[in-house]
Amino acid sequence: MNKIWPSLEEAIADIKDGAMIAIPGFFACGVPRALLQELIKKGTKNLTLACGCGPLLGAADELKALTLNGQIKKVIDSYGLFRSASKGMQDPFEQAVRAGKIELEVFPMGTMAEKYRAGGAGIPAFYTPTGVGSVVEESIVTNIEANRKPKETRMINGQKYILEYALKPDYAFIHAHTGDKEGNLRYAKTAKNFNHVMATAARITIAEVENLVEAGELDGDCVHTPGVYVHRMVKVPRPKFAITID
C-alpha cells in the first residue's frame, strides 16, 4: 500500500475549519513542526489542538503564529503555559487564554496519554487514580468556567478513581525518524513520546518522516507504529530544534 503523498500541502488539504488535530511532542522533542508550519500557511480556523506535554511551547514560533492568525479555538494539554509567569504574561497565547478567547483544558499527563491509548483501542473511558483529591477530581479543568463539567468517581476495592474519557481526534500530525511505504513508522529515542498513541487515536494520521524507505528496508521487528494506523506520509528535511522552553 503506497501512503506517500507528494507534499505537505496536499496531505493536509482536506482539513476543515473546526477540526481537532492531535499534536505530539514533549516540549521541543518529537514535534511535527513542518506540518504545523503548513497548517499556518493553510490558515484553517477554529481548531482544537490536542496535545500531551507542551509541544506548542517547544514550537513557540508556530504557537505565536497560530494564535495571532486566530486559528486556535482550544488547546488540550497537561503543560500548556510557559513555565515563567513573567514570560507568560508577554505571550499572545497566554493572553488569549486569560481573555477567554482560547480555551485551555488541562489533564494530568498520564491521563492525556491514556485518553489517546483508549481512543485508539476502542475503550470509551477508563478509571484512573491520578488526580484524586485535587481539582482534577471535581471537574474538567478549563479556563472557561461554563465548561467545567463535573467528573464521576467510583470506589473500587476501597480506593477512589476518576472516570476519564477517551479522545479521538479527527487528525494526528506525526513526526517520525523513518517510515516505509507501507506506513510503518519508527521514532528516534525520546522523540517517540506522544507520537505513537496519537497515531492510533486519530481518524486520519498524517506523518512527516525524516527518512522514507522501501517496504522491507525497515525491519518488522523495529516498527514502533504499524502501518494500519498511518494514512498519509510526506518526507521532510530533518528539522532543527532549540532544546529550551521558557
Partner: protein, 226 residues
Amino acid sequence: MSPKVKFEGLPREMIALRVSREIKEGSYVNLGIGIPTLVSNWIEGIDVCLQSEIGMLKTGPLADGDNVDQDLINASCQAVTALPGSAYFDISESFGMIRGGHIDVAVMGALQVNVSGDYAGWSNPSRGLFVGNIGGSMDLCAGARKLFIAMEHITKDGDYKIVKELSYPATAVGKVNMLFTDLAVIEITPKGMVLKEVVAGLTPKDIQSVTEPKLIIDPKCKEMEL
C-alpha cells in the same frame, strides 16, 4: 502566614545531596523539575535507574557540545545522554509504569506541604489563572511507592511552606513520605510530622519557629550529616 525569623539554610545542591542519601541501591527513581533534578548529580556510582516520564529508563548525565541530540531530552526539557542499558518507550508505557507502581521513589518540588502529607505544586494562584501546568506530577504521586519532597523550608518572601492547611491547589493528598529542606529532614507519619534531622547550628526549636504545624521531635533527632 509568616514566621518571625529566617535562617541561613543549605544551598539547593546540598538539599539534593541529602535526598540522594535516602535513595537505596537498585531503586527506580523519577526526579521532578528544580531541586529534584540536582539529585542526579549525587548518585553516580550508586546502582540507581532514573526514569524520565518522556519515555526513558537509565537517563544519563546532561549532554553538552557535540553530545547534544535534539531527539534525546529529559522531562525538564534538558538535553541528556544515554547510558549502557538505557531504554526508550512511548508515553502510555511510561505512565503505565508510573501509575502501575513500578517506580520506587519520586522526588518532587513543592510550594506547600501539610501535616497530612498533602502537597501543592502545580499551580501558584499568584499567576491568577484557574488552569496551570500539571505535567506528570499527579501521576507520579498516584503511582510511586514513595514520594519525597525537596524544597526550601520557607518562601523567598518569608512565608511558611510547611503549613497546617494548603492554601494552594493540591497536587496530591496524603502521599508525601519525607520532606527534605534547606534546614531539616521531616518524616510524615500518621501521628504527624516527625523532625528527624536539623542542619548544623540550628535547634529543633529553631525549626519549629519556621514550621506552622506542631512538630513531633524524634528522640533520635540529630544534626544533618552531608
